[in-house]
C-alpha cells in the first residue's frame, strides 16, 4: 500500500519534463523491430494473456453477457490445457454484483469503471457515490477517469484533488487513473497528466476509456512508462500501467511488452504491474498460442467470442 498523497514536496506540474514527439516515434519504432521467436514468443504471449482486463463497457450490457464473459475469463480455451486466466474482468458498477457472483477463481479480479465513466462530467459527490457503489458490490479495482476539461483549462490542482479524493474512497482497493489521452492530444499533456495522477495516489495509470480515438498508441504508452520510471527512480515506488483501447492483436501486445521490458524492466512484467484493457485481444493471443504449440493456425470460428 502506498500513501494517498505525497505531501512532502510541492510539485509544479506545469514543469513536467518535456517530450519530443519525433524522438518518441523513433524510439517506439525500435521496439517494433524486435523479433520474437520460439520460446520467447510463447512466453510473451502467455504473459500477455495473463495481463488482460477482459472488458465490456456498453450501454447494452446485460447480466447474462457479463456472466458469459466471466466464464470466459476463467476458461479461455479449455480444449488447450496449460493456459493462464486473464487478470481481471472490467465492467460498469451496476454489473459488479453479477460478476462477483459468477467468478470462481480468486486470481481473476473485478475491475469497475467509475466516476461518471467515460466522460467524467459529474460532480465529485456523484463520482464518490459511483465509486462506493462499485466497491460495495465487490469490485477489487477502480478505473476512474480524470476531468479532462479541467486539465485542459490548466486546473491541475482540481484534477489532483479529485484523484486524491477517489483514492481515499478506494481504501485498500487499487486505483487505476484513466487519462483519456485521445482528448489530451499532445505528449507533453500526457506526461503532465501522468505525473499528476501518480503524485495524487494512482496505483495504475491507464491510457483511455476505449470510447475515444486515438487510444493506446505506443507513443502514448511509452510517454506514460517514462513517467512511471522517473517516479520509481525518485521514490522506489512502483506504479502500474494499463494501455487500453486499440490493442486488438497479439503482435501489438508483444510490442508493448517489449517496450515495458526495455524501459521499466522485467519487474513490471506481471499482471500486478501491467495490464491490457481489451476485449478482442484475448482471442488473437489464444490463436497465436495454439499456433505456436500445435503448429496449426485455426480460424476464428474455433475460439469462443464471449
Amino acid at each position: 500500500m502506498r500513501s494517498t498523497v505525497n505531501k512532502t514536496e510541492p510539485i509544479d506540474f506545469s514543469q513536467s519534463p518535456k517530450v519530443d514527439k519525433v524522438g518518441v516515434e523513433e524510439r517506439v519504432a525500435r521496439f517494433q523491430t524486435r523479433s520474437l521467436k520460439g520460446a520467447s514468443k510463447l512466453q510473451g504471449l502467455k504473459l500477455a494473456l495473463n495481463m488482460i482486463d477482459l472488458t465490456t463497457l456498453e450501454g447494452k450490457d446485460t447480466p447474462n453477457k457479463v456472466r458469459q464473459m466471466c466464464y470466459k475469463a476463467e476458461h479461455l480455451h479449455d480444449s488447450h490445457p496449460g493456459l493462464p486466466t486473464v487478470a481481471a474482468v472490467c465492467v460498469y458498477p451496476s454489473m459488479v454484483k453479477v460478476a462477483r457472483e459468477s467468478l470462481r477463481n480468486p486470481e481473476v479480479k473485478i475491475a469497475s469503471v467509475s466516476t461518471a465513466f467515460p466522460s467524467g462530467q459529474a460532480d465529485l459527490n456523484i463520482k464518490l457515490t459511483d465509486t462506493k457503489l462499485a466497491l460495495d458490490n465487490g469490485a477489487d479495482e477502480i478505473d476512474m477517469v480524470i476531468s479532462r476539461g479541467k486539465f485542459l483549462s490548466g486546473e491541475y490542482n482540481f484534477v489532483f484533488d479529485e484523484i486524491a479524493a477517489i483514492k481515499e474512497a478506494c481504501g485498500k482497493s487499487r486505483l487505476k487513473v484513466i487519462l483519456e489521452t485521445g482528448e489530451l492530444v499532445t505528449l507533453d499533456n500526457v506526461r503532465k497528466a501522468s505525473d499528476i495522477a501518480i503524485y495524487a495516489g494512482a496505483d495504475f495509470i491507464k491510457t483511455s476509456t476505449g470510447k475515444i480515438q486515438p487510444a493506446a498508441t505506443m507513443q502514448v504508452t511509452y510517454t506514460m512508462l517514462m513517467a512511471i520510471k522517473d517516479y520509481y527512480d525518485k521514490t522506489g515506488i512502483m506504479i502500474g500501467m494499463k494501455p487500453a483501447g486499440g490493442i486488438s492483436n497479439a503482435k501489438l501486445a508483444l510490442h508493448n511488452l517489449v517496450m515495458v521490458n526495455e524501459t521499466l524492466g522485467g519487474k513490471w512484467l506481471t499482471n500486478e504491474w501491467f495490464r491490457f484493457g481489451a476485449s478482442s485481444l484475448a482471442n488473437d493471443v489464444l490463436m497465436q498460442i495454439v499456433k505456436q504449440e500445435t503448429g496449426i493456425y485455426q480460424s476464428t470460428d474455433y475460439f469462443s467470442i464471449d
Binding site: G23, R34, S40, Q43, G44, L47, N271
Partner: protein
C-alpha cells in the same frame, strides 16, 4: 506463493532470430571489375576478406597494382570519350534509375552481405544502409537531365575520370555516395573499396553489369593503400574523391594539389553532441545512444564528445547508463542485435588502446554488464566521465563505441569547447526551444548540425566538414557541383 512469484516479475530474453544467409550468392574469389568484365589481377595476388563477427574467411579478393589501376583508368577514359560524355542526361538518368531499382530488388542480399563483411547489425544494414543506397541513386538519377536547372546561367560540363576511394564503415553506402553523383554529371569512375569490406562493392559491380551500364563507366579495383595511391597518382584521373582517415586524407591532398587535380575529402571527426537543460531528456538520451553507438561508433560524424549542461548532468548520465544496460551486443546477423562486431582486429586494438588510455588519464569508465560473444571482434559500449578538454580521449578520433562526457555551465562556454577541436564535421544540439537551437547551431563550426536528432542522413542534404574533417560536400546540389567543371 503465487502472489510472491508475481511481484518479482520475470526475466524475458529474446530468443536468437538470425537473418538467413541461404539466399545470398558469394563466390570464393573475386577479380577486378574493369571495362565491364571481371579480370584477374596483374600480380596474381589475392587477399582474404573476413567476417569480423566470427573471423571466418568470406572470399579471396584480387589485389590491384599500378598496372591494373592503369588499365581501369584507361577503360574509364575510353568509356568517357566514346559513350558517357556525349550521352544525353536523360539516358544517363535511365541507367541510374535502373541501378536504384535493382538495388531495391536485391536489398535483402546486399544487407546480409554488408553485415557479413562489415560486422554491422542486420537491423542497420537492412533499415539504414541499403535503403539510403537506393535513395541516393534515385536522387541523382533525377538530376541527370536537369543539371542546367540545378546551376542556372552556367554551362555545366563533366570533369572526366573520377578516382574514388572509400572507407569500411559504410561500404556500400559510400560507394553510392561517390558513384551516383559522378555518373549523373557524366563522369566515369574508378572506385577502390576498403580492403576489409570489398564485397558489397563487388556485388554492386555485378549489379551494374546486369543493369547493362556501358563497359568501363564504373570500374572497381580492390586492394590496400598502395592501390589507392596509384589511383590518386594516375595522371589521367581528373578528380579525386576520398572518404577516410585524416592522415591518409592529408597525403591524398598533397598529391592531388601537386598534380593539379580537383579533390574532395571527407575525413575524421570528433563531433560534439550538446544537451541543454531544457531538452526533452529521454529523447536526448536516445539521441546520445544513436549518436555514438550507431554502427559501433564507426561513423565519421559520431557524436563522440558529449556536453551536458551542469544542472541536468546527473540525471542525463544516470539515464544514459540505464539505457545502455538494455543494448544488446552480439551476432550482427541477429535481428535483435543493437551493437554488432568491430570491423577488424586492428580497429578493435585501437579502441582498446584508447579505453586503456582513458583509464590512465584518470577518467571514470563505465560499461554495461552485457554478454559479448567469445569469438569475433566485439567491444562493449563505453563511456567516460570526468574527462577534461585536454584529455586525449576527448581530442582524438577513436572510431568506436566510446563516448566522453563533459559538463558546461553556459552556452558561450559550450560553443567555445565544442569548437575547440581540430575537427569540424558534425554536431548535435538538444533543446526544447527553437531560439536556443538556432543560436547554437549558427555558432558551431561544423559542416552538419543536427537539432534534436543525430546521425540522420538524406540524399538531398549536403554532408562534409571544416578544418581537419576535410573539404567539399557530398549529397544534394553541392554533391553535384563537385563533379562538374
Amino acid at each position: 506463493m503465487a502472489k510472491n512469484k508475481k511481484t518479482e516479475g520475470i526475466e524475458w530474453n529474446y530468443s536468437s532470430s538470425l537473418e538467413g544467409t541461404s539466399h545470398i550468392q558469394l563466390q570464393k574469389k573475386y577479380d577486378l571489375f574493369i571495362g565491364g568484365k571481371f579480370v584477374k589481377p596483374h600480380s596474381g595476388k589475392y587477399f582474404d576478406t573476413i567476417n569480423p563477427a566470427t573471423g571466418e574467411v568470406l572470399a579471396a579478393i584480387a589485389q590491384a597494382d599500378e598496372t591494373d589501376v592503369d588499365k581501369a583508368v584507361k577503360a574509364a577514359r575510353k568509356a568517357y570519350n566514346e559513350i558517357w560524355k556525349n550521352m544525353s542526361g536523360k539516358e544517363r538518368g535511365k541507367y541510374l534509375f535502373r541501378i536504384a531499382r535493382l538495388i531495391q530488388d536485391r536489398a535483402r542480399e546486399f544487407a546480409v552481405i554488408e553485415t557479413l563483411d562489415a560486422g554491422k547489425t542486420i537491423r542497420e544494414s537492412r533499415d539504414v544502409d541499403v535503403p539510403l543506397v537506393a535513395n541516393h541513386f534515385f536522387y541523382y538519377a533525377g538530376w541527370a537531365d536537369k543539371l542546367e536547372y540545378a546551376f542556372p546561367n552556367r554551362k555545366v560540363e563533366s570533369l572526366g575520370v573520377a578516382g574514388q576511394i572509400i572507407p569500411w564503415n559504410f561500404p556500400l553506402l559510400m560507394a553510392a555516395w561517390k558513384i551516383a553523383p559522378a555518373l549523373a554529371c557524366g563522369n566515369t569512375v574508378v572506385l577502390k573499396p576498403a580492403e576489409t569490406t570489398p564485397l558489397t562493392a563487388l556485388k554492386l559491380a555485378e549489379l551494374i553489369r546486369d543493369a547493362g551500364l556501358p563497359d568501363g563507366v564504373v570500374n572497381i579495383v580492390t586492394g590496400y593503400g598502395d592501390t589507392g595511391e596509384a589511383i590518386v597518382r594516375h595522371e589521367d584521373v581528373d578528380k579525386v574523391a576520398f572518404t577516410g582517415s585524416t592522415p591518409v586524407g592529408k597525403r591524398i591532398h598533397e598529391i592531388a594539389m601537386e598534380m593539379g587535380k580537383k579533390c574532395t575529402l571527407e575525413l575524421g571527426g570528433k563531433s560534439a553532441n550538446i544537451i541543454l537543460d531544457d531538452a526533452p531528456i529521454d529523447q536526448a538520451v536516445e539521441g546520445i545512444v544513436n549518436g555514438i553507438f550507431f554502427n559501433q561508433g564507426h561513423v565519421c560524424c559520431a557524436g563522440s564528445r558529449l556536453f551536458v549542461q551542469e544542472n541536468v548532468a546527473d540525471i542525463v548520465v544516470r539515464k544514459l547508463k540505464d539505457r545502455m544496460q538494455s543494448l544488446i551486443v552480439g551476432n550482427p546477423l541477429d535481428k535483435n542485435t543493437d551493437i554488432g562486431a568491430i570491423n577488424s582486429e586492428k580497429q578493435l586494438k585501437t579502441i582498446h588502446q584508447y579505453i586503456q588510455l582513458g583509464v590512465e588519464e584518470g577518467a571514470e569508465l563505465y560499461q554495461p554488464e552485457c554478454r559479448v560473444p567469445a569469438n569475433g571482434f566485439y567491444c562493449r559500449p563505453t563511456l567516460f566521465t570526468n574527462v577534461a578538454q585536454s584529455s586525449r580521449i576527448a581530442q582524438e578520433e577513436i572510431f568506436g563505441p566510446v563516448l566522453t562526457i563533459q559538463t558546461f555551465r553556459t552556452v558561450d562556454e559550450v560553443i567555445q569547447k565544442a569548437n575547440n577541436s581540430p575537427y569540424g564535421l558534425a554536431a548535435g544540439v538538444w533543446s526544447d526551444k527553437g531560439s536556443r537551437l538556432f543560436n547554437l547551431t549558427s555558432k558551431l563550426n561544423a559542416g552538419v548540425v543536427w537539432g534534436n536528432t543525430y546521425n540522420r542522413f538524406d540524399p538531398s542534404s549536403p554532408f562534409g566538414g571544416f578544418k581537419e574533417s576535410g573539404y567539399g560536400r557530398e549529397g544534394g546540389l553541392h554533391g553535384l557541383s563537385a563533379y562538374l567543371k
